[in-house]
């Protein structure tokens, strides 16, 4: 008969203990959205209307009308999944067949530039994968988006400094290059020696840029430094010490209280048993 009280007491202790062992560190993705932007990089293609659709239901079609050569939209934050990008000449009815379409598969934290590239005769829709991750050593990442057909091969370097990319062909995009952050004059040098262009840039530490090179009317080159991703200040080392353990102390105090109550119940049970046994004997 005293066994019953013991078992009941153990049960109570057993019930309270599991509440303390839940929880292991569980890292997850930073964001379940990705980023898509659209660009028109074909010098002899007229303005286009761009249609963005999701392959899953519930997404409202987005239309970007009158996108001309050299235009690159801001990034749109989109839920992960598959998307279709279609281009029609500006003003064409949405029911007419698209001039070009392509698919974009957006993954968590991924970034993409969907661009019409090349000359009109050979126009294509390319999906560029943009790498927005933190550059090593808090340097700067820069890549060249070469959309000039009049200067079909060119090199880019820091004025009186290191080269960023050489022999970059029209309708191509280089990999990102690591450069030291700072206020730099960049030299764009078409092959053949003439028509070099200088541009002042402010390259932030830990930030990511695409330098667009475009044909200017009536002649020459135009550049646009696009911010792909930005940050400011030094990179903190590790996390933050933002806790003193008070909640743990409160939890332990609560457990101690429960444990004391259990022991008290057991003690009462034992005493009652002993008294009953004694009274039977008498």
């Amino acid at each position: 008969m005293p066994m019953r009280r013991w078992l009941a007491g153990l049960t109570v202790v057993g019930l309270t203990t599991p509440l303390c062992v839940l929880g292991a560190a569980s890292p997850v993705h930073a964001q379940d959205v990705g980023y898509v932007r659209l660009a028109h990089l074909s010098p002899d293609t007229p303005e286009v209307d761009v249609y963005l659709n999701s392959q899953s239901s519930g997404f409202k079609e987005q239309v970007f009308p009158g996108v001309g050569y050299g235009v690159m939209s801001k990034y749109l934050a989109l839920p992960v999944g598959g998307y279709t990008v279609a281009m029609r000449l500006s003003g064409a009815a949405p029911t007419t067949p698209a001039v070009l379409t392509t698919q974009v598969s957006v993954s968590a934290g991924g970034a993409y530039t969907v661009a019409g590239v090349g000359r009109y005769a050979g126009l294509g829709l390319k999906v560029l994968k943009d790498d927005l991750t933190l550059p090593a050593e808090n340097k700067t990442k820069v890549r060249i988006v070469q959309a000039s057909v009049k200067a079909p091969i060119l090199g880019v370097s820091v004025a009186n400094g290191p080269s960023i990319a050489e022999n970059v062909a029209f309708a191509t995009t280089t990999d990102y290059q690591l450069v030291d952050p700072g206020n730099w004059r960049l030299m764009i040098r078409p092959a053949g020696g003439s028509g070099a262009k200088e541009v002042s840039t402010n390259l932030g530490a830990g930030s990511v840029y695409s330098l667009l090179i475009l044909d200017s009317k009536p002649s020459g080159l135009k550049t646009e430094l696009r911010v792909d991703a930005l940050r400011q200040g030094g990179v903190p080392d590790g996390g933050v010490q933002t806790g003193g353990g008070g909640l743990e102390n409160l939890k332990l105090a609560a457990m101690g209280l429960i444990g004391s109550v259990v022991l008290l119940l057991l003690a009462v049970g034992v005493i009652l048993r002993v008294r009953r046994a004694r009274s039977k004997v008498l």
Partner: protein, 193 residues
């Protein structure tokens, strides 16, 4: 006897739950995030001054935080006052703005006691130059301090984002600090909403 039997069964079930079932997954968003507003269009130049997270009863001023000599981000001196990394991206500018606050003191809970209750879609508001900027939680994560995901938390972003940090996990008495950091990731949403 049947009381004992049922108690044993209940205990066994609870032990099984504790051991085999993962903690509730940290939440993910279920809907699209609209494009953020153009931060420069608002022409905000001052520092953020107030933080409001209604769901977890946070309504407090923000103090500036700087990096310590060790390179670590300092914690706010007051347990009830959160801070923002003042040499980093200010909330509302393109980039990863960082806010940090205490989960508890040595003896009591603190301002970010309930930060772990935030879920995707919850609203975080930061006041700057008299304007309330709205951020929508995208996801949360708990990371061991020894393996802090620096690039994910402090890396550059294409839009205005927020990271709200406090401590979590179990408390290491030998080191007198929590083993993990809890990070809430949020993206600025259009002020039309």
């Amino acid at each position: 006897m049947w009381i004992v039997g049922w108690s044993a069964v209940v205990t066994a079930v609870l032990w099984a739950v504790a051991v085999y079932v993962q903690p509730p997954p940290l939440w993910r968003p279920g809907q699209g995030i609209p494009p953020p507003p153009d931060a420069t269009a608002m022409q905000l130049t001052g520092p953020p001054t107030w933080l409001r997270i209604t769901k977890i009863s946070v309504d407090a001023p923000l103090v500036p935080l700087r990096l310590e000599k060790s390179g670590e981000l300092e914690a706010p001196k007051d347990y009830d006052t959160p801070g923002w990394y003042a040499d980093g991206t200010p909330p509302g500018d393109t980039g990863p703005a960082v806010i940090a606050g205490h989960v508890d003191s040595r003896v009591a809970s603190a301002v970010f006691r309930h930060l772990e209750d935030l879920r995707a879609g919850d609203l975080i508001e930061v006041q700057r130059d008299g304007v309330w900027l709205k951020f929508s939680v995208v996801s949360t994560g708990r990371y061991p301090k020894g393996h802090f995901p620096t690039a994910q938390v402090y890396g550059p972003t294409p839009d205005a984002q927020l990271r709200v940090i406090t401590c979590g996990g179990s408390f290491d008495r030998a080191r007198n600090s929590y083993r993990d950091n809890l990070v809430v990731f949020a993206i600025m949403k259009s002020n039309d909403y």
